[in-house]
Every structure is written in C-alpha cells, then in structure tokens.
C-alpha cells in the first residue's frame, strides 16, 4: 500500500486521536482511512443517483 502524509491542524488531530480510541479503532490512521472511504463512497453513490434522475426525467413523467 502506498503511503502519503496529510497535514491536520493540532486541534483536529487531538480530536481524531480521542474519537479513534473511543470508537475502538486500532489507530488514528485506521479511523481517518475509514472516514475517507465512507465519504468517497457517498460521493460515488450520489453521482450514480444523478445519472438515474437524468435518465428517468427523459421519460416525461417526472420533473
């Protein structure tokens, strides 16, 4: 797996550490990875939703 550094401000990093531990993640990295994956999945899903809407609108029955 490739690695890259991401800068976080100190305040956010402290929160990440705190909630990662509270939520049972093995590390702050694992927590951040999970959050990013979840958000990206949402974006990917919303793209396909847009596609569905566009296609259905061509029917004429909905706006």
């Amino acid at each position: 797996m490739g690695k890259a550094k991401v800068k976080l401000n100190k305040e956010l990093l402290e929160k990440v550490k705190k909630f990662a531990q509270m939520a049972g993640y093995s590390s702050p990295e694992e927590f951040i990875t999970h959050c990013l994956e979840r958000e990206i999945a949402k974006l990917e899903e919303s793209d396909s939703e847009e596609e569905i809407k566009k296609k259905l609108k061509g029917l004429g029955y909905i706006s």
């Binding site: 569905i52 061509g58 004429g60 909905i62």
Partner: protein, 661 residues
C-alpha cells in the same frame, strides 16, 4: 425437441404451399413432423393510449369511418387495463398474459430497498466486471450486458415453440428483446445512445433561455463569431477512460450573412439547413479510444438564425446499422430494416415531449417531428405487411399516447394549462391523431384478407391531468414519513432529509407506496405480518378519503392492496399499496423521486397535460376487432390467451386470461 428456426419453418411452409397449389389437402400437408404449421393470420395494431370514450365520441361524430366499418363487422369493447395503467406494466400484461405479480413490472420505476433509491423497472445494464487500466484508459476484459427484467414467457416466444412465425414491431417492454428467432425490434424502454430515455440538445445565443440541464434536455450557450458557431455534441459516457468523460463531437455551423441558411459541418460530413428545416437522419461517430468508436443517429433542426441562433439536436438514437445495444432479434433484423429504409427512430418513445415541455420545440415543431415518426413507421408497416403471409404481425403506434400527453390542455378549457390562443391552432391535435389512426386502419382494411383476425387495441385510455397529488407530502403531514429537518421540507430529493429510523411509509414511482418494513428495507421499522397488514389497511383507507380542497373531489379513487390483486411469483417485489387516482388527478411531478413539496395538492400547469395513472376501471383501453367478442369485459391478458387459442395453442399455467371469442 429443438424448435424449428424461421428459415426451416419458411422452407417447410414453401414446400406445403407448392403441394397445395398442386391440389393437395392443406391441413394434413401442413402437419409435418408432428408440428403445427398454419396459414392462420393474426394482425395486432397497438395504438398506445387510445381511449374508448374519445373513440366513441368521434365515432358518433362520423370522424372515424374505418373504425366504424370494422366495428360493424366485428366488435368494440373497452379493454380492461393493468394496475397501474402505465404502459410498461400494461404491455407486459399483454406480452406475457399475466399481471404484474407474474411479470414483475409494477411501475416505470422500482426501488432498491437497501438504498431507497429508484431504479429502472424494465431493464438493467451492467458494465464490464473485469477491466484493465492502461494510463488514462480502462479496457473492458469481460463484456457488460443489458437485461430485460420482464419475467415470464412472451406470446411470440410461445408461438415460436409451436413454429408459428411472428414479427413484433416495437412492442413496449421488449428492451432488450427477449431471446427468440422471431423478427422483433424493440420499442418503449429502448434508451438513446447516452443510456437515457432521451436527452436532446439546444445550442443557442438567446440570453433569455436558461442554460444547462433541463428535464430531458440540455441547453448550451454558443456565440456567433464571424458568422460561425462552434459547439460540441455530447455523446455517451466514455467508459474506456478512467475519469469517464462524455464523448464529444466538435462541429461548426457557418451562417449565411444574407439568407436564412446555415451549413452544419461535422467531422465527416456537412449539410445545409434552411431556417425551420429538419436535417433528416445524420450518422455521428463518437470516438472512445484509438480503435473504438460508437455510432449514433440524430436529427438537426435549425429553429432560428436571427436575431438569436437556435439549433436543436434530437436525442442521439442507437444506430440500427451498428447497434451499440441489442435492439432486435435476430440481431441482423435492425440492419435489414436499415438497409431498406435508412436510419430510423430506435429510441423507445421517439417524440421529444421534453423538448416541447421545455420550450425548446414549440407545438408546431413537435407535431412536425411526430409526423416524421408516423410516416416512418407506416413505411415499415407496409414493408412487413407485404411479406406477412402466415402467423402474427404486431405493429405499434406511440403517437396516440404522446399527443394526448402533450395536447390535452388545448382541448380542455378546465385544464390549468389551457391557452385559448394555442387552442385555436392546436386544439384539434388529439382529435387529429385519432383521425390519423383511422386513416391508417382504413389502409389496413383495404389490404387485409377476410381470414385474418384483426385486433386493434390499446394498453390504457387517457384522462386530463389537472391536479397533482404529492403522496410523500401527504405521508409526511399524516405522520407516516418523518424528516430529520422538517423546516427543510422542500429541500433536496431522493429522501435525503428522511429520518428512516422513524419513517413507516414512502412513495416511489408513479403509483407505488411502500412500507418501511423490517427485514426488507435497510432501516425497516414496521414488522412484517400483522403490523404491516394493519398499517397497509390504515393508510389505504385514509388515502381513499383524501379530498382536494379546491375541487371537493377525491384524489385517489381506490388504494389497492397489492397482495390482494396480483397473481404470481413476483408479488414480493410489489409496492404495498397501488394508488388508483381519480379522473383528473395524478401523482405530482416531484413526489415520485422522493421530494416533499409544501402542499399536498398542486395545479398542473405543464404542457404534459393528459395522463393515465387512474384506477384501472376509469382508464380502460380499447379493443376493436373483426370478430364477434363473447367476453363482456375483456382484459389485456385475455388477448394473449386469445392469440394462442387462435393458433390452437393452450395457454401456459402462468397465464391468467381467457379467450375472448
């Protein structure tokens, strides 16, 4: 025993005919190898949306002489439609001889219970599962596919098993065409090249026309610089590229400085258009990667040159000469038609109703396009009728449906979209399409032999769409649907403000209502069994009592409990309640995709002004035939059993209809 293919059948038929000409005995000679061959002929004319009340009205006024002649020799009945009376549902009833419980098509759109997102009901496309990425390119290693989701066996597949040839011209709900060796070309449900139900383009310099995405179209701003316009024609998503951009074709338009004429220059062709002129079909080739391209066909219409440049380009249809998706059986049939007629409309519903709705085309321009659709189809019918010597021929007309959708407002003074000025010009557009259907029928009656059984039928009738009902807003106001932020009720769509943990019911599609059921929906709340059944009855009873404060009329005539009205193995996928609207009412424009407009009721001021989402008993279709009908109240699925019976074939165990003769 392996069914005989068409060529084998025709060979045997030819041999039998030769013997017959020599004085042989027909029935015994046509029974070869235990197979039933036949000279019986059934011609089915499918006029989408033909309404029995309007037919009766114009019959009485003497405007439909061919229908009158046919009825006097045979019969006329209202034809019981499907629940709900939506075309994909109704035609699936006819195609398979079942109801939605059997064929599994309950609405134009279904939903994914795991995401609460609407899905296409008719077909499912999947992309290649295995791909290879090289730089910016993604190469498919396994083919994607498109699947027809209608369940059950169609009557033409059953005819094929009994060696009865059939040609099925654009019957709805047959995209992609179900597997068969019969000649079929797909109809309603066939997408454009972009995979949508139709996205047109308008290129304009008019600052008053809003640019961007419209419902069913796009408007692009262009500039005239030195009498020249440069633009890009958008095509399908290029799935070969990693970022999946739209494939584009650069084109230019050169405007004559002195005359209302322009030259359109595409990469491999150029043509001249006068103002208000249609180009006819033009082939366009979208490059996807160095060795791959996809071919489409479209029409250009030069709406205006000055003061504002306006160029309309129709949705890009699949090219029948090089179909990017399966649109016929055998695959070569589309190409055969293309060789005879050149390019032709392949998009399921060819008339661009969205362009009229959006003001991109006006009423006259829409009717010009519709006229092209009618004439093109008629030429193809003539071609097929000439070689129709045995078995079944089905021919479909979409314009009867589309014109009623778009022009009802101009023959109905009570309609909120009624415009007296437009009505004086186009108020007879609906009547004209009935007269056109009659003229077509007249041509058929002149050619048809007396032994051919003729069924002229429609899938549903029509009624005005004056008032819109926001089902999801009603569910919200009555506590069945909960929003996370009620003060943002009107924002967003696709239930993005819904609190599923407290929601008990939701509406998706044009007639469907679903419970948020535990074990079925992702965040299901209502227990299956008695809890669900009680809630279904409670909501259904309340829905039937909803009264429109403006008119004092009930919006929903009947709220059907799907388990009680459907038959077959697909019932588990049905909405829990099917809303059967009253005459004049329909689901709103926004509710089907999970929106919550402020008011439960709204006026419908759109050009799309006629519809057919009512309770089936108020929206019957039409059956006119040259035989006496024994059945008092025939249904669409009865016609399927009837067709099989005419050829001496018993109906299958899944079929629920009975013969009508």
């Amino acid at each position: 025993m392996k069914p005989m293919n068409r060529r084998e059948f025709l060979k045997r038929g030819l041999a039998a005919t030769s013997v017959l000409a020599a004085g042989g005995n027909l029935p015994s000679l046509l029974r070869g190898s235990g197979r039933l061959a036949t000279r019986t002929k059934v011609l089915v004319l499918g006029f989408d949306g033909l309404d029995p009340r309007l037919l009766d009205r114009w019959l009485k006024e003497g405007k439909l002489p061919a229908f009158a002649r046919l009825i006097s020799a045979g019969d006329f009945r209202p034809l019981r439609t499907s629940l709900p009376p939506q075309s994909p549902v109704a035609w699936s009833n006819f195609n398979t001889g079942t109801d939605p419980g059997g064929h599994g098509i309950f609405d134009f759109m279904h939903r994914d219970p795991q995401t609460y997102i609407p899905t296409f009901s008719g077909s499912l496309s999947t992309e290649a599962k295995k791909t290879l990425k090289i730089g910016n390119l993604v190469l498919p290693l396994s083919g994607g596919e498109v699947k027809n989701l209608m369940q059950g066996q169609t009557f033409w597949q059953i005819l094929e098993e009994h060696d009865i040839p059939a040609t099925i011209f654009k019957i709805p709900s047959n995209y992609p065409p179900v597997p068969t060796e019969q000649r079929t070309i797909s109809g309603m449900g066939t997408p454009d090249l972009k995979g949508s139900y139709g996205i047109s383009c308008c290129f304009t310099t008019d600052p008053d026309i809003p640019k961007g995405e419209l419902s069913g179209g796009r408007v692009y701003e262009v500039f005239v610089i030195g009498n020249r316009v440069e633009a890009k024609l958008p095509g399908p998503t290029n799935t070969f590229k990693k970022d999946r951009p739209e494939a584009l074709i650069d084109f230019q338009v050169f405007i004559d400085p002195n005359h209302a004429v322009a030259k359109v220059v595409l990469p491999d062709q150029e043509f001249i258009l006068k103002e208000k002129e249609w180009s006819g079909w033009k082939k366009v080739q979208f490059g996807l990667m160095p060795t791959q391209s996809v071919s489409g066909i479209c029409m250009f219409y030069l709406k205006e040159i000055r003061p504002h440049f306006k160029l309309y380009v129709s949705p890009i249809n699949i090219d029948p000469a090089h179909p990017a998706q399966p649109i016929s059986t055998p695959g070569s049939y589309a190409q055969e038609l293309e060789r005879v007629f050149g390019s032709f409309f392949t998009k399921g519903l060819p008339a661009d109703t969205s362009a009229l709705d959006n003001g991109v085309l006006d009423e006259g321009e829409f009717l010009e396009q519709d006229e092209m659709i009618l004439r093109e189809g008629e030429r193809m019918f003539d071609f097929e009728f000439e070689r129709f010597d045995s078995g079944l021929l089905f021919y479909y007309v979409s314009s009867t449906d589309q014109r009623q959708h778009m022009f009802w407002r101009l023959m109905d003074e009570r309609h909120p979209g009624y415009d007296p000025q437009l009505a004086s010009r186009y108020g007879n557009a609906v009547e004209n399409i009935y007269v056109e259907a009659d003229r077509f029928l007249d041509r058929v009656l002149q050619k048809i032999d007396k032994d051919t059984v003729l069924l002229a039928m429609s899938d549903h009738g029509f009624n005005p769409f004056r008032r819109a009902f926001n089902l999801n807003t009603w569910l919200f106001e009555n506590g069945y649907h909960r929003l996370r932020n009620p003060w943002k009720q009107e924002a967003g769509d696709l239930f993005d403000n819904t609190d599923w943990s407290r929601t008990r019911a939701y509406g998706i599609g044009l007639n469907g209502l679903y419970l948020n059921q535990r074990g079925r929906e992702r965040d299901g709340l209502v227990n299956a069994g008695a809890d669900s059944e009680n809630l279904i009855r409670e909501i259904a009873a309340k829905l039937e009592q909803v009264v429109d404060p403006k008119t004092g009329e009930r919006a929903i005539l009947r709220a059907f409990v799907s388990k009680e009205v459907y038959h077959g193995s697909q019932i588990e996928h049905a909405p829990d309640i099917i809303c059967g609207f009253n005459l004049g009412y329909r689901i709103s424009w926004d509710s089907p995709l999970g929106k919550f407009p402020k008011n439960v009721f709204e006026d419908n001021k759109e050009k799309w002004s006629g519809d057919h989402m009512g309770a089936p008993e108020v929206i019957p279709g039409v059956l006119v035939t040259n035989r006496k009908v024994r059945a008092d109240s025939p249904a669409l699925y009865d016609l399927t059993a009837t067709i099989l019976d005419i050829f001496g074939i018993p109906k299958t165990k899944e079929m629920i209809g009975e013969t009508i003769f």
